[in-house]
């Protein structure tokens, strides 16, 4: 396949305010139809990046290319903004009816009345808010308001849709139903989108590519499975949900696998390392299997440890079980298996995980 010009490309973006570097992105490109998620904690620069890409946060250094054309040469800048649409965390609706809100961006573009009506009706229908058409935006619930906000953005048929934490202030059931609809609509319309979120599950679900951000920088960018399973460092690992992060020392090499000593215990992992090197072992909680039988059966799994349950914390549909087995280890179990194995705090259990399920981060390797 021939690589076409990316729809949006940024080079050497830097935003500085009051002597602090808020954003430092040497290069970023988004292909047409792609959905890129920016994940990172608050203050990571996700919002700044989105606002810079849409020329809302000024001044900044660097260049932005839209379909290969430098946006700096597009004058006036609103001509460029009219190719995009932005959805903020707050619905920021206007004090008028739902219909007029969805129509607002089209009115700004001076579109003909009939055409506006058709497009608005289509979006109201798509987001399931046709019945609210004549309601005042002030009387909407949080979910209805955010649906209106999304409809307003989609009515513009943007070339790129920028979403800044669009679900963050919604309650879980509302968020779930809206995310499901958005997922469907994004797929149906083939809209190119950049989604900023602090929720990795949201990113996993909606995106084709994930960029992990912190303190204004993109630390890692890649496919969801790449970022989730092969985080480049401890920060990314902890942010993408690797609960167990263990520093250890390589004590024995054996072909492709090696043994690392972690707090006096030996853990087998796979990877190219040097003897004596310090490595970080990342174990995702869903890869840890718990068993109530303490007797050591022969299994193909080499990493089997006995430990005591220190805490059990409800975690969505799962229970997060924190173990102490010489080193801290976290596993997810379903409510069903929690009962079946009669796991309680203080109980001794056996935990096992495959050597291949461990992601190895080499210190000093960048």
């Amino acid at each position: 396949m021939i690589k076409s010009t990316p729809i949006l490309e940024a080079k050497n973006l830097k935003v500085e305010r009051g002597g602090t570097l808020l954003l430092d992105v040497p290069s970023l490109s988004i292909d047409k139809g792609e959905i890129l998620a920016l994940i990172g904690p608050n203050g990571a620069g996700k919002t700044t990046l989105l606002q810079t890409l849409s020329y809302l946060s000024k001044p900044f250094q660097g260049e932005i290319f839209f379909k290969g054309e430098n946006v700096n040469s597009v004058c006036p800048v609103f001509e460029y903004r009219r190719k995009l649409a932005m959805v903020f965390q707050e619905p920021l609706l206007f004090d008028t009816t739902v219909f007029n809100n969805v129509a607002s961006g089209l009115k700004i573009r001076g579109m003909r009345r009939n055409e506006i009506r058709d497009r608005v009706i289509e979006q109201l229908d798509r987001f399931g808010i046709s019945h609210l058409s004549h309601r005042s935006a002030k009387t909407l619930s949080g979910g209805e308001a955010q649906r209106t906000n999304l409809a307003r953005a989609f009515a513009l048929q943007p070339e790129i849709l920028l979403l800044d934490e669009p679900f963050a202030s919604l309650d879980p059931p509302t968020r779930e139903s809206l995310m499901e609809d958005l997922e469907h609509i994004l797929c149906q319309t083939q809209t190119t989108a950049i989604l900023a979120t602090h929720d990795r599950m949201e990113a996993l679900r909606l995106s084709d590519r994930i960029a992990v951000m912190n303190v204004g920088k993109i630390l890692q960018i890649g496919s969801p499975s790449n970022v989730m399973n092969q985080p480049l460092d401890e920060f990314i690992a902890s942010f993408v949900g690797v609960e167990t992060i263990l520093p250890g020392k390589v004590v024995k090499k054996n072909g492709g696998s090696f043994l690392a000593s972690v707090s006096g215990k030996e853990i087998e992992a796979v990877g190219e390392v040097h003897l004596g090197e310090t490595v970080i072992l990342c174990i995702r909680p869903e890869n840890v299997i718990l068993s109530a039988h303490l007797s050591k059966e022969t299994t193909s799994v080499r990493n089997v440890f006995q430990g005591k349950i220190e805490r059990i914390v409800p975690f969505g549909l799962y229970q997060k079980v924190q173990l102490g087995c010489g080193f801290p280890l976290v596993a997810y179990v379903t409510n069903h298996s929690l009962e079946e194995l009669s796991l309680t705090e203080g109980k001794e259990v056996r935990a096992s995980f495959k050597a291949t399920a461990i992601h190895v981060v080499r210190k000093g390797e960048s």
């Binding site: 606002q51 849409s54 809302l56 006036p76 609103f78 903004r81 009219r82 995009l84 649409a85 932005m86 903020f88 707050e90 920021l92 206007f94 004090d95 607002s104 961006g105 700004i108 573009r109 005042s136 002030k138 009387t139 307003r152 513009l156 920028l162």
Partner: protein, 231 residues
């Protein structure tokens, strides 16, 4: 007590028979204060929005000045407008002292800071991100300002009320720059002052009632508009 009852009775009579002098005074009042309010809306809203949206050094001082201007004593305005329009004054060549035009100027000077101050507060109260959202929707700067004004329409209606209410009931400046000339620059307030000082309480009361009714009607209409938007 007789004085008041007699006064009210006569005032009522003047009103129901649509006394031509009373009517003329009422219309002139509406005309002068209405024009002054329109001028103040134009200057006050545009300047208020500009100050609300811009950042510059000394902005705080400007905002404080506007807020002080909201309580400008009418007699002081009357004094300075008189000086400016005086025969030897800077604008004396216009020759408009003791005319309705002078009264419009004085009243506009009083109402403008009121409208400006309320506009400033109203625009600043809108969420910061709303401006970004409007720009993100592809608006030009002018379109953004227009949308912001529409978003702040309720407090801006309050500005209309406050501005008009301030000038229609104002007497000091009007008498100083208008001169209370019968059939020419005599308005409700100045006429009330004069008739009261002459002891013609009946006419004074009639004029007072009209003034109150006017104030009530205008506020009622604007309140209706405001309440309609509440769910």
């Amino acid at each position: 007590m007789d004085l008041i009852l007699e006064g009210i009775k006569k005032a009522f009579w003047l009103l129901v028979t649509l006394d031509p002098e009373v009517l003329r005074i009422t219309f002139l009042s509406l005309q002068i204060s209405g024009t002054a309010t329109l001028i103040s809306l134009f200057i006050g809203i545009s300047t208020g929005v500009m100050v609300a949206l811009s950042r510059f050094t000394g902005r705080r001082i400007v905002v404080s000045l506007i807020n002080t201007g909201m309580g400008l004593p009418p007699v002081v305005v009357g004094l300075f407008v008189t000086i400016f329009l005086w025969r030897n004054g800077p604008l004396g060549f216009l020759g408009i002292l003791y005319t309705p035009a002078a009264m419009i100027i004085a009243q506009a000077v009083i109402a403008t800071p009121i409208v400006m101050g309320i506009t400033l507060a109203a625009i600043q109260q809108l969420p910061q991100k709303l401006r970004l959202q409007i720009l993100a929707l592809g608006a030009t700067r002018l379109q953004m300002v227009w949308i912001l004004i529409k978003e702040a329409k309720l407090p801006l209606l309050a500005a209309v009320m406050a501005g008009f209410g301030g000038v229609i009931s104002e007497v000091g400046a009007s008498i100083m720059v208008g001169g209370n000339i019968k059939g020419y620059s005599r308005v409700l307030t100045t006429a009330t002052v004069m008739e009261t000082s002459r002891g013609n309480f009946d006419i004074a009361i009639a004029l007072g009632i009209i003034l109150l009714l006017l104030a009530f009607c205008i506020n009622y209409i604007i309140t209706q508009i405001q309440q309609r938007h509440r769910a």
